[in-house]
């Protein structure tokens, strides 16, 4: 099966733009128990989990860059954090190829926690004021919980958007043991 790079690229681009717009225009404005969901790390982790480490890292960088530009925040911060998340999720897929239905949930929660921690550390390192306290901790943990709750649907939507451009249908692929360090589905095409 030939990999349709063009199709994959525009799909990823569309996902990137739609996610940022949807996050800013809708999700950020809806509070559940006073907490917001954060789709961006979930989508970056989902792309990494579906496509592998390199596309995950590139997608994370791109969506982070777009987020920083759209929110007029410090350029490079979100890129750095989200490329790490995309890469890590991709490496998990390449090394372990986890198949459980709960994997997107766990990866989503971990990605959100990593993103929150990353933003916290970078904000602190950049000398910007960080409101340390129980309220901040509650916000961080709450966001992780909310994101964990929506991680599986987000993963399914992202996979549905990408599945036609993948060289191999992940729903039919068989579990393979890690023997050689693993490759992303893109590299197998």
């Amino acid at each position: 099966m030939n990999l349709d790079y063009r199709s994959l690229s525009w799909r990823l681009g569309l996902i990137c733009v739609v996610t940022v717009v949807f996050q800013i225009a809708a999700v950020s404005q809806v509070k559940i128990f006073g907490l917001n969901a954060d789709l961006v790390p979930l989508v970056a982790a989902s792309v990494g989990l579906i496509l592998g480490s390199l596309p995950g890292a590139i997608f994370g960088f791109a969506i982070g860059m777009l987020l920083d530009l759209a929110l007029v925040e410090t350029v490079g911060v979100a890129s750095l954090i989200l490329l790490a998340i995309g890469f890590a999720a991709g490496r998990l897929r390449e090394l372990r190829d986890p198949q459980g239905a709960i994997v997107p949930l766990l990866v989503g929660a971990a990605a959100t926690a990593a993103a929150q921690a990353g933003f916290l550390v970078l904000t602190f390192l950049l000398g910007q004021p960080v409101p340390f306290g129980w309220a901040l901790l509650w916000d961080l943990l709450g966001t992780v919980a909310v994101n964990a709750a929506i991680a599986i649907p987000v993963f399914l939507v992202v996979r549905r958007c990408l599945i036609a451009a993948l060289p191999e249908d992940p729903r039919r692929r068989r579990r393979r043991a890690y023997t050689t360090g693993g490759l992303s589905p893109l590299s197998r095409s």
Partner: protein, 289 residues
Amino acid sequence: MYDRTIRRRRLTLAALVACSLLLLTAYFGESSDGALHGFQRGVFSVFVPIQEGASTVLKPARDLVGWVGDTIDAKGRLGELERSNQNLRARSIAASDALRVNAQLQGLLNFDNAGGLAAAKPVTARVIGQSPTVWYATVTIDQGSDTGIRAGNPVINSDGLIGQVTTVTGHAAIVTLISDGEMAVPARISAGGAEGIVQTGAGGPGDLRLKFIARRYRVDPGAAVVTAGTLANSAGLQSLYPPGIPIGAVTRVDDPGTDAQKIYLHSYADLQKLEIVQVLTAAINGNRP
């Protein structure tokens, strides 16, 4: 093939990280008029209309989710708010109660100071019971002989005389009100000095009369009636009531200037709404004027 892929992956990752750090450094290093800031503003200006459009389009979905969230939130807060409401209502009632009691105590204090009753060793008491009959002729107060109250002590509130102590126990006492048929209070018209006795009339409670006023005295409606104190011609009999305590105002006079003149009073104190009272436990100068 595999090595090349690994190398490519590492190179790309390193490039992306370097790019991020470079952007971060450049963004921090340049002024707000710099190229990166300008590019960001450009992207932002492009993004704003998309954002606005998306915000408008997504508003119903946002409202729906918000409504669901608000409903869950509201349900969660309902019990908490109900408890808070109960607490606030109780506090509000307690506060208004305290304000009312405070006003009464302040009134009593002013009354004592103005009437020179502070020397009569007033004992402040709360009305804890009232006669269940329609006549309201007696009330029970929460102070008794332990605080120096004795039978016969006059009882006042901030409006004037209300009665006298008739029964005393250690911690409580019963006060018979001036509206009781058995009560008789030596009184005088404040302005003219005509002396008589305040008693209830045949009409029942609330129908107070000033009796035994000599016909030579002219009494006009509106005149204030106060306690007379110990009369000069009382031949050693001491009045239970200090002089000058307001009792009521004359409302009507029938057959004025005759021996049968009837002087009707309206007591200053509302005898059906008593809450804080004072018992005057000591006589000042034999209750003489």
